[in-house]
Point group: C2
Chain length 219, copies 2
């Protein structure tokens, strides 16, 4: 499958590398066509992928994974271009974290709005599914790093897109279907993004980013 | 033990009733000395407790449980009086939820501040421990409603107060010590209060408020 990875950071690297390993055609996009980070990743995957601009990658991908820095996501997606995103599924992974005032980070948008919603509003013809943003990138591609059942929460306005993303997360990364919880429409991004305020503190207390939550339900 | 319950809503009722059942001396406080809700609760516990104003209750209690509505917590605590709260542990349970614009609720404070912090700033001589705010009130007093291990997250500036609150949650309500996670100082209230944005959505999807999260850690 032709998959676009937008962003050359840790998340883009982890997802891109895994998807190359299992045989997909990947183009990693960044602001410039030949970024240092992009070239470094290309060497890491022995040249078995392509790099380009956000525009190139979005045009290439049948499905788009938004692995940009949350502070720059909207700008990156505008560079990618609405026409290249039209009708496609955008897996919106980035969180609107602001580290500029030190640790712990705050959110640039929350409570009455979210990055997931902003992006869906800005690109109404794109099938935005917020997903994977509640776990560390190592865990995104290898959920077995954390033992037992633990849950991934997704949301979005397009039920078909959520079904497809669920199937891909199972197929690509080994998530179990029963551990993927559909939280509702894209406004539920507020919940999964605001959870980051708790996630970041738990990271500090647990001393590892390799953790997740399991939702346990009463009778 | 003499325990003050501030607030006559569902949370105050659940905690007060349980604490009366296990033999503690409880005074439930509200804005007025003889509120209808307070009298109704008093009948429910067969008169085996007292009711009074926030001031009466805070003066009575060796430990104070803040079960007020989050929108009114600061006002209620001011009515309780700094002198009556001085040096005491305040278990700060309420969340700053605003239901005035319908469902889902938003938070009246978040991201760069929290209700827990506001209260600790306003009452610097009170030992504020944010606790129990991440679970439904039935679960607060009966964690076994949800099977298996699941976690409660507390925070506060006073390590001794957190140890005592942990011991009380074990003794009073049956929480397991290993499931009580100390998230750090009172600024961590941002994390547990902002989690409510996720909690409220999960409530909708799961169809029951009887659920909780278990933090699962990798190796």
């Amino acid at each position: 499958m032709k998959i676009a990875i937008l962003g050359t950071g840790m998340v883009g690297n982890a997802l891109g590398t895994k998807l190359v390993q299992i045989g997909h055609q990947i183009m990693m996009g960044s602001r410039t066509a030949n970024s240092d980070a992009g070239q470094e990743w290309l060497r890491l995957v022995c040249g078995k992928a392509q790099i380009g601009t956000f525009t190139d990658a979005a045009a290439f991908g049948e499905i788009i994974l938004d692995c940009t820095n949350g502070a720059n996501s909207l700008a990156a997606l505008h560079q990618a271009g609405a026409a290249n995103l039209r009708g496609k599924i955008l897996v919106q992974i980035s969180n609107p974290l602001d580290f500029s005032k030190g640790m712990p980070p705050t959110l640039t948008v929350c409570n009455t709005d979210s990055l997931g919603e902003q992006i869906q509003r800005e690109f109404p013809d794109t099938r935005v599914v917020k997903a994977l943003n509640t776990v560390n990138c190592d865990l995104m591609v290898q959920p077995s790093l954390v033992p037992g059942g633990h849950d991934l929460i997704i949301c979005g306005n397009d039920a078909g897109a959520k079904r497809e993303v669920t199937a891909r997360l199972v197929e690509w990364f080994g998530w179990k279907k029963e551990n993927i919880i559909d939280l509702g429409d894209i406004t539920a991004s507020r919940g999964t993004e605001m959870y980051l305020a708790l996630w970041v503190r738990l990271w500090g207390v647990l001393g590892t980013p390799h953790f997740n939550i399991k939702i346990v339900r009463g009778g």
